[in-house]
Subunit: 399 residues, 2 copies
Amino acid sequence: MNNFTYYAPTKVVFGRGTEAQAGALVKEFGGTKVLLHYGGGSAERTGLLGKVRKSLEEAGIAYVELGGVVPNPHLSLVYEGIELCRKEGVDFLLPVGGGSVIDSAKAIGYGIANGGDVWDFYDRKRVPSSCMPLGAIVTIAAAGSEMSDSSVITKEEGGIKRGCNNNACRAKFAIMNPELTMTLPAYQTACGCADILMHTMERYLNHCDNMELTDSLAEGLMRTVIHNALILTDHPDNYEARAEIMWASSLSHNGLTGCGTDGGDWSCHRMEHEIGGMFDVAHGAGLTAIWGSWARYVYKENPGRFEQFVTRVLGVEPQADQDATIRKGIEAMEDFYRAIGMPTCMQELGVDPTPEQIELMAEKCSIAFNDNLGVVKVLHKADMAAIYRMAAGMERVEA
Amino acid sequence: MNNFTYYAPTKVVFGRGTEAQAGALVKEFGGTKVLLHYGGGSAERTGLLGKVRKSLEEAGIAYVELGGVVPNPHLSLVYEGIELCRKEGVDFLLPVGGGSVIDSAKAIGYGIANGGDVWDFYDRKRVPSSCMPLGAIVTIAAAGSEMSDSSVITKEEGGIKRGCNNNACRAKFAIMNPELTMTLPAYQTACGCADILMHTMERYLNHCDNMELTDSLAEGLMRTVIHNALILTDHPDNYEARAEIMWASSLSHNGLTGCGTDGGDWSCHRMEHEIGGMFDVAHGAGLTAIWGSWARYVYKENPGRFEQFVTRVLGVEPQADQDATIRKGIEAMEDFYRAIGMPTCMQELGVDPTPEQIELMAEKCSIAFNDNLGVVKVLHKADMAAIYRMAAGMERVEA
């Protein structure tokens, strides 16, 4: 096992009605003037924003508002937010939404606290030294941004989607009411479940000696997500299942399931970023569309780990040989994806990239990671292109 | 499931050689002059204190020292520490040791930050509003105090052992090098494993609807501790097993394994506090000496929960009926305790209380908790006395 640092300082306030504590929590963490940051009209329509405004007013917290965050949040709105906060003297950021809104707030926070062009942090030209404090009110269980050190922003010009990981952006608090996620469309719910699972799978499917404790936590979390994602396909208003998924979303990406590992693989996430940047698909769906192709392409580099995954997490019975067990497991995972309405290839994702587009995605991903991606099998540009082609049905890899 | 707050802000720096980061971490969290707080001579003998002093000096951090913390740490030394810190202008506390040393530092921190008699917070007369910041260098995997909100102090006069739980005392950082625990005597190692297990068992053996996710994390953690505690009885210098136990000690008591529950039972902890206050036994051993008696006395109030515990955590095969399964499970747990050298009754613990002493312990515990203790079965004074008598072999409860 490796040495590790675990740092998840976010105060989680979880359960029914907790959005009413927004004002008190902002106050507890020293905020006096807030940027209320959100996406489209749903937070307004459901009455959530009204409740949050009321809570802020009752706590004597001033606020300005900036809506309009879209999935794969845009750099241009981040710039707008930075300018607005500076003009208005905002000292605390309060995103109300899912990962896109929280990530947009984190980027605004970096921009205000550090000066210069905030894109530098995503483009890996600079490292942020601080971030304006923020608290999140979560309405989508997916990205886990409310407890993570991660933020992903898309620069519209060129469709470049890049992430920045830094402890400075960890939220001071996260308000998580599972009821707020009940109105999500089924597709978005399933995308969230896929993303949550993948945050732990990326850490778990690694290439190192692992901790028994981290493995047991990760396996329990993944089994819980799979079980409850299936419940939600038929019963979207099941509070208990919503709560299981929502809490899993935070624990899946706050570092807990990676303690003692080599950091995990993350190839699927990085390769999906190129799909998302080019085609603007839902992140979770992009992940499931390439996971099976990635798994088939790399598993022989660490078959024992894949075998452990498919037997302990997916409950696959050992087959005639290890290879057959793993391949059955990958199919079981794809069956699960389909059962919750997620794609297992590019066409099911609704995109049909040309060979040139695939080359371009592989090229961009290769450049972003110095042509060295992942740990199960280190991927170079040709490997990335091969996986994209497999996911697009252009190439088949036989074990 | 219940609403919950989860707040574990401690930055954990885990692994070999991490004690060398002490000075840098104190600096990161704003300390300029430190109280180095520790127990007997072992931290000096092993060279650990020397390494910590060097690290502080290299970071330009001044320090004063106060050793002499004993198991069941004394209030008198806390008073001494408060006075010393005030006189010396200390602004950061650095306990080097196990739960006793960290708890003693937390009490000093409460005393400095709040004024008045610090015992008031343990005697439930006042609630602390703040605590001087502290970071812990952990040398015993047991109490989990390095991430918990808990501190337990013994007032020598009258042998009164009381706990205070408050978020203000959460450590800013915890340095956890499993190698530092390798020189512990086998008995102390086993006591630590017992305490770690019990921190999750107290939360898990409750009386409410539970979260599937919390259950799966708790079950995985308990299985990991049992497995590795047995490894350590034969191989005390097994780094991996030491690491599993050490990380489990933090996760077992930082709140994670109680999310969504009713808070857990805690009767064994509270009843052990009276044994520890009167006889000065090791906390972990005191816990195992009464757990079986407690379990037999209360399990019929929530048999489904006990059945889940013994089948999923202890691997007990279902017997002819639920009752038999549970009783077999309690015996399996006691077998495990004996296998790691822990007592399962008072005599094995080395104490033989008189009927008057048992009445006195029950009386003190009853008064401290308003004659309402625990959730599986709410215990009144007569129940507490009955459990003490069972543990002392004076009374037998047949199912």
